[in-house]
């Protein structure tokens, strides 16, 4: 049976992990490759690395890092952050990334999704969407939630799918960082209108929240992404998977 995926996400700046990380006994490990290997050994199903460097040197360091990660780990990983052209994506895929996520770049230029899909295949195109609720509507934001676009979450997700996105990664900016749980209702709706996998991100504070967003009577998401609860050791992946299995949520042990 196809399992639900657990995906730790690491923010990278100038080739190093950004946040102070207290992972297992490793305190504040800076090297993302070691962290990636440790997560993989713990049973992470996939990894996401987001480049938040603002400089060319930072981007170069990130590309070098992608090469080192690809050589070392034997599970799939996605990279993203600042991708605005298909050539940007090509560099990272050539370095060994399995998938590339596009966010603001696709909002600005929706044709980027179809261009990437036809050049590399839909399987490596993840469209990341950040959105905030304004009144009754979920408005898509760009630049880390700092700017509103003219797009609405559900229609944009559908458009992305039709343009060739392989997966949708939705982050609720209203839930992100709160540790109060995911935007389950929205994931449920996304999952019902889309025929491609939906990855939930933003709001995980404990294992219970992950169970809720993945369960059939909750968010129905295909995968759950989280950062700090894994990095700070609040939730250990083996414990999480045991708990999910007890709830009859299919997971890879």
């Amino acid at each position: 049976m196809l399992t639900k995926r657990i995906i730790p996400c690491l923010d990278i700046k100038d080739g190093q992990t950004v946040k102070g990380i207290n992972f297992l006994s490793l305190k504040a490990v800076g090297d993302p490759v070691e962290l990636a290997a440790a997560y993989s050994a713990q049973g992470a199903d996939e990894l996401v690395f987001l480049d938040i460097s603002a400089t060319l040197e930072g981007r170069k360091a990130f590309t070098d890092l992608v090469e080192r990660i690809a050589l070392r780990i034997n599970i799939p990983f996605t990279v993203g952050g600042g991708i605005s052209t298909a050539d940007d994506a090509a560099v990272l895929l050539k370095a060994g990334a399995d998938k590339v996520s596009v966010n603001s770049g696709a909002v600005k230029n929706p044709a980027l999704i179809s261009e990437m899909a036809s050049r590399f295949g839909s399987q490596c195109v993840v469209v990341a969407i950040d959105a905030k609720k304004v009144g009754r509507e979920w408005r898509v934001t760009t630049h880390g939630g700092s700017r509103f676009s003219d797009k609405e979450l559900f229609s944009w997700a559908k458009q992305a799918e039709q343009s060739g996105a392989g997966e949708i990664l939705f982050t609720s900016m209203d839930h992100d960082g709160t540790c109060n749980g995911y935007a389950c209702e929205e994931y449920r709706r996304l999952s019902s209108i889309l025929g491609i996998p939906v990855i939930a991100s933003g709001g995980a504070g404990n294992a219970e929240h992950i169970a809720e967003v993945l369960s059939d009577d909750g968010g129905c998401a295909d995968a759950a992404l989280a950062a700090s609860i894994f990095h700070y050791g609040e939730v250990r992946i083996p414990d999480l998977k045991r708990m999910l299995a007890e709830r009859n949520i299919p997971v890879r042990p």
Binding site: L2, T3, R5, L71, N74, G96, Q123, S191, I196, D222
Partner: protein, 200 residues
């Protein structure tokens, strides 16, 4: 020495990285004399079936692979190309395995809410003993695909996604898997290392 057949398809890098992790000597080539000098061949593949078959034909590699007597391992689309026909682009394939390659869409029940492509980790069962030596029954492998190989007498492992399908195939020196062993953790690497021990 192992050869990765280079026919301008994707996913070669990840196969190369896995061989490096396993310490295997390999070459990447589309040159028949180079391929001929190797002990075994890997046919990788990510992309579209009709396009990939035309790339193989352009290089004159279709007949070469078909008549090969050394161990040949197709991965993902590479395995599908070893089958008789693919629904993707109505493509005549190499015909090593007698089965067809079908689209999940239109084949699996629509009311189950199964997404297409299948993306993620699924289990493999009824494992063929040599290629899967040391790999536990029910191990999880990483899949990304919309098309699947039908069950037939050469099915070497079974996976279920709305319907049971051949997640791997084996007929003498020819074998292949639908999932990505190079992205399937330690169990996936074990499959690759089993293949790397095979010789004519």
């Amino acid at each position: 020495m192992t050869a990765i057949i280079d026919y301008d398809t994707g996913n070669i890098r990840s196969v190369e990285n896995a061989l490096k992790r396993l310490g295997a000597e390999y070459v990447l080539s589309s040159d028949k004399s180079v391929l001929d000098s190797c002990e075994r061949l890997i046919l990788p593949g990510v992309g579209e079936a009709a396009w990939a078959m035309s790339k193989l034909r352009d290089r004159g590699l279709d007949g070469f692979v078909r008549s090969c007597t050394k161990p040949v391992f197709g991965i993902c689309l590479g395995m599908q190309l070893l089958c008789s026909w693919s629904e993707e682009g109505d493509t005549e394939c190499l015909g090593i395995f007698p089965n067809r390659v079908r689209n999940f869409r239109g084949t699996i029940p629509e009311d189950r809410g199964l997404k297409i492509p299948q993306v993620g980790w699924n289990d493999i069962r009824f494992l063929e003993p040599e290629l899967f030596a040391g790999v536990p029954e029910g191990s999880y492998m990483y899949f990304v695909h919309s098309y699947f190989a039908e069950i037939n007498e050469y099915t070497a492992s079974v996976t279920e996604y709305g319907i049971p399908f051949s997640s791997s195939l084996r007929k003498g020196n020819f074998m292949g898997c639908q999932f990505h062993p190079e992205k399937s953790g330690d169990d996936g690497e074990k499959i690759l290392s089993n293949f790397l021990k095979m010789k004519l």
